[in-house]
Protein backbone atom coordinates (compact mmCIF):
# COMPACT_ATOMS: atom_id res chain seq x y z
CA UNK A 1 0.00 0.00 0.00
CA UNK A 2 1.32 3.44 -0.91
CA UNK A 3 0.97 6.06 1.82
CA UNK A 4 2.28 9.03 -0.20
CA UNK A 5 2.38 9.13 -3.99
CA UNK A 6 5.75 9.70 -5.67
CA UNK A 7 4.38 12.72 -7.52
CA UNK A 8 3.22 14.33 -4.27
CA UNK A 9 6.60 13.70 -2.67
CA UNK A 10 8.41 15.23 -5.66
CA UNK A 11 6.17 18.32 -5.58
CA UNK A 12 6.63 18.72 -1.82
CA UNK A 13 10.42 18.45 -2.03
CA UNK A 14 10.51 20.85 -5.00
CA UNK A 15 8.50 23.39 -2.98
CA UNK A 16 10.83 22.97 0.00
CA UNK A 17 13.89 23.37 -2.24
CA UNK A 18 12.49 26.63 -3.62
CA UNK A 19 11.66 27.89 -0.13
CA UNK A 20 15.13 27.13 1.22
CA UNK A 21 16.85 28.60 -1.85
CA UNK A 22 14.74 31.75 -1.60
CA UNK A 23 15.64 32.04 2.10
CA UNK A 24 19.34 31.80 1.16
CA UNK A 25 18.96 34.46 -1.53
CA UNK A 26 17.04 36.69 0.90
CA UNK A 27 19.77 36.35 3.54
CA UNK A 28 22.46 37.31 0.99
CA UNK A 29 20.44 40.25 -0.35
CA UNK A 30 19.62 41.60 3.13
CA UNK A 31 23.29 41.21 4.11
CA UNK A 32 24.39 43.14 1.01
CA UNK A 33 21.81 45.89 1.67
CA UNK A 34 22.89 46.27 5.32
CA UNK A 35 26.55 46.29 4.27
CA UNK A 36 25.84 48.99 1.65
CA UNK A 37 24.24 51.28 4.24
CA UNK A 38 27.10 50.65 6.69
CA UNK A 39 29.74 51.22 3.96
CA UNK A 40 28.18 54.57 3.10
CA UNK A 41 28.03 55.46 6.80
CA UNK A 42 31.70 54.52 7.22
CA UNK A 43 32.63 56.53 4.11
CA UNK A 44 30.76 59.65 5.21
CA UNK A 45 31.18 59.71 8.98
CA UNK A 46 34.34 57.71 9.68
CA UNK A 47 36.47 58.39 6.60
CA UNK A 48 39.76 58.33 8.52
CA UNK A 49 39.10 54.94 10.11
CA UNK A 50 39.68 52.26 7.44
CA UNK A 51 39.18 49.47 10.01
CA UNK A 52 35.47 50.37 9.99
CA UNK A 53 35.28 49.02 6.42
CA UNK A 54 36.89 45.75 7.54
CA UNK A 55 34.29 45.41 10.32
CA UNK A 56 31.45 45.91 7.80
CA UNK A 57 33.04 43.36 5.44
CA UNK A 58 33.19 40.86 8.31
CA UNK A 59 29.46 41.28 8.89
CA UNK A 60 28.77 40.83 5.16
CA UNK A 61 30.95 37.70 5.10
CA UNK A 62 28.83 36.17 7.87
CA UNK A 63 25.64 36.84 5.88
CA UNK A 64 27.22 35.29 2.76
CA UNK A 65 28.29 32.20 4.70
CA UNK A 66 24.77 31.83 6.10
CA UNK A 67 23.23 32.23 2.63
CA UNK A 68 25.61 29.57 1.29
CA UNK A 69 24.54 27.21 4.09
CA UNK A 70 20.93 27.62 2.92
CA UNK A 71 21.98 26.91 -0.67
CA UNK A 72 23.82 23.78 0.49
CA UNK A 73 20.72 22.70 2.40
CA UNK A 74 18.67 23.01 -0.78
CA UNK A 75 21.26 20.88 -2.63
CA UNK A 76 20.91 18.19 0.03
CA UNK A 77 17.11 18.36 -0.27
CA UNK A 78 17.36 17.98 -4.04
CA UNK A 79 19.22 14.70 -3.68
CA UNK A 80 16.01 13.29 -2.18
CA UNK A 81 14.33 13.33 -5.59
CA UNK A 82 17.25 13.08 -8.02
CA UNK A 83 16.41 9.91 -9.93
CA UNK A 84 19.27 9.50 -12.40
CA UNK A 85 22.95 8.99 -11.68
CA UNK A 86 23.78 11.96 -13.93
CA UNK A 87 21.55 14.31 -11.91
CA UNK A 88 23.09 13.08 -8.67
CA UNK A 89 26.56 13.67 -10.16
CA UNK A 90 25.65 17.24 -11.15
CA UNK A 91 24.24 17.89 -7.67
CA UNK A 92 27.41 16.51 -6.12
CA UNK A 93 29.53 18.86 -8.24
CA UNK A 94 27.38 21.88 -7.30
CA UNK A 95 27.44 20.91 -3.60
CA UNK A 96 31.22 20.38 -3.69
CA UNK A 97 31.82 23.83 -5.19
CA UNK A 98 29.45 25.46 -2.69
CA UNK A 99 31.18 23.65 0.18
CA UNK A 100 34.57 24.87 -1.08
CA UNK A 101 33.19 28.42 -1.35
CA UNK A 102 31.89 28.20 2.20
CA UNK A 103 35.22 26.86 3.46
CA UNK A 104 37.22 29.69 1.86
CA UNK A 105 34.71 32.26 3.04
CA UNK A 106 35.03 30.97 6.61
CA UNK A 107 38.82 31.04 6.36
CA UNK A 108 38.74 34.60 5.07
CA UNK A 109 36.40 35.72 7.86
CA UNK A 110 38.86 34.26 10.40
CA UNK A 111 41.81 36.07 8.77
CA UNK A 112 39.90 39.36 8.65
CA UNK A 113 38.97 39.00 12.32
CA UNK A 114 42.65 38.54 13.21
CA UNK A 115 43.60 41.55 11.05
CA UNK A 116 40.92 43.69 12.72
CA UNK A 117 42.07 42.60 16.19
CA UNK A 118 45.69 43.46 15.25
CA UNK A 119 44.67 46.92 13.99
CA UNK A 120 42.65 47.58 17.14
CA UNK A 121 45.56 46.47 19.34
CA UNK A 122 48.02 48.73 17.50
CA UNK A 123 45.66 51.73 17.58
CA UNK A 124 45.10 51.20 21.34
CA UNK A 125 48.87 50.98 21.89
CA UNK A 126 49.38 54.23 19.91
CA UNK A 127 46.75 56.07 21.96
CA UNK A 128 48.14 54.78 25.28
CA UNK A 129 51.86 55.39 24.59
CA UNK A 130 53.19 58.83 25.64
CA UNK A 131 54.01 61.30 22.83
Amino acid sequence: MELVSEEFLKDAVELLVRLVESAGALVIFVGAAIAFVRFLDAAVRHRHQPHRFVAVRLGLGRYLALGLEFQLASDVLRTAVAPTLREIGELAAVAAIRTALNYFLGKEIKEEQEQLADERRSSTARSVSPP
Partner: protein, 91 residues
Protein backbone atom coordinates in the same frame (compact mmCIF):
# COMPACT_ATOMS: atom_id res chain seq x y z
CA UNK B 1 11.36 34.14 -9.09
CA UNK B 2 14.38 33.78 -11.38
CA UNK B 3 13.78 37.29 -12.73
CA UNK B 4 13.55 38.71 -9.23
CA UNK B 5 16.82 37.09 -8.15
CA UNK B 6 18.54 38.25 -11.38
CA UNK B 7 17.33 41.81 -10.69
CA UNK B 8 18.57 41.57 -7.08
CA UNK B 9 21.96 40.33 -8.28
CA UNK B 10 22.19 43.24 -10.74
CA UNK B 11 21.27 45.69 -7.97
CA UNK B 12 23.97 44.23 -5.69
CA UNK B 13 26.50 44.56 -8.55
CA UNK B 14 25.66 48.28 -8.87
CA UNK B 15 25.86 48.61 -5.06
CA UNK B 16 29.32 46.98 -5.18
CA UNK B 17 30.69 49.64 -7.54
CA UNK B 18 29.04 52.50 -5.62
CA UNK B 19 30.36 51.24 -2.26
CA UNK B 20 33.87 50.71 -3.62
CA UNK B 21 33.85 54.21 -5.12
CA UNK B 22 32.67 55.65 -1.79
CA UNK B 23 35.40 53.75 0.07
CA UNK B 24 38.03 54.93 -2.42
CA UNK B 25 36.94 58.57 -2.18
CA UNK B 26 36.75 58.44 1.63
CA UNK B 27 40.02 56.68 2.36
CA UNK B 28 41.99 57.21 -0.89
CA UNK B 29 43.29 53.67 -0.47
CA UNK B 30 42.70 50.96 -3.06
CA UNK B 31 43.63 48.40 -0.37
CA UNK B 32 40.35 49.34 1.35
CA UNK B 33 38.16 49.84 -1.74
CA UNK B 34 39.14 46.69 -3.67
CA UNK B 35 38.06 44.18 -0.97
CA UNK B 36 34.76 46.09 -0.61
CA UNK B 37 34.15 45.72 -4.37
CA UNK B 38 35.11 42.03 -4.41
CA UNK B 39 32.99 41.16 -1.35
CA UNK B 40 29.84 42.72 -2.81
CA UNK B 41 30.53 41.19 -6.25
CA UNK B 42 30.78 37.83 -4.49
CA UNK B 43 27.39 38.52 -2.89
CA UNK B 44 25.97 39.19 -6.37
CA UNK B 45 27.57 35.98 -7.67
CA UNK B 46 26.10 33.94 -4.81
CA UNK B 47 22.67 35.45 -5.49
CA UNK B 48 22.95 34.31 -9.12
CA UNK B 49 23.76 30.80 -7.91
CA UNK B 50 20.53 30.66 -5.91
CA UNK B 51 18.41 29.05 -8.61
CA UNK B 52 19.74 26.05 -10.58
CA UNK B 53 23.17 27.42 -11.47
CA UNK B 54 24.87 26.45 -14.70
CA UNK B 55 28.43 25.05 -14.50
CA UNK B 56 29.71 28.30 -16.09
CA UNK B 57 28.07 30.42 -13.36
CA UNK B 58 29.51 28.16 -10.68
CA UNK B 59 32.97 28.34 -12.21
CA UNK B 60 32.66 32.14 -12.47
CA UNK B 61 31.83 32.49 -8.78
CA UNK B 62 34.62 30.08 -7.82
CA UNK B 63 37.01 32.18 -9.95
CA UNK B 64 35.81 35.33 -8.17
CA UNK B 65 36.59 33.73 -4.78
CA UNK B 66 40.05 32.83 -6.09
CA UNK B 67 40.66 36.41 -7.30
CA UNK B 68 39.38 37.73 -3.96
CA UNK B 69 41.79 35.51 -2.03
CA UNK B 70 44.70 36.44 -4.29
CA UNK B 71 43.94 40.15 -3.99
CA UNK B 72 43.51 40.06 -0.21
CA UNK B 73 46.73 38.11 0.31
CA UNK B 74 48.54 40.52 -2.03
CA UNK B 75 47.19 43.54 -0.16
CA UNK B 76 48.13 41.97 3.20
CA UNK B 77 51.62 41.16 1.91
CA UNK B 78 52.09 44.73 0.62
CA UNK B 79 50.86 46.20 3.92
CA UNK B 80 53.26 43.94 5.84
CA UNK B 81 56.17 44.99 3.61
CA UNK B 82 55.33 48.67 4.14
CA UNK B 83 55.15 48.31 7.94
CA UNK B 84 58.49 46.43 8.18
CA UNK B 85 60.37 48.74 5.77
CA UNK B 86 62.57 51.18 7.77
CA UNK B 87 61.68 54.84 7.44
CA UNK B 88 64.34 56.84 5.52
CA UNK B 89 63.96 59.76 7.96
CA UNK B 90 64.83 57.72 11.01
CA UNK B 91 68.37 56.50 11.73
Amino acid sequence: MTGLIAAAALLVTVVAFVSAAAALVATRRTAVALPVLLDLLLAAGLLRLALQPSPTQLAGTALLVLVKRLASSGIRHAAGARSTRPSPLRP
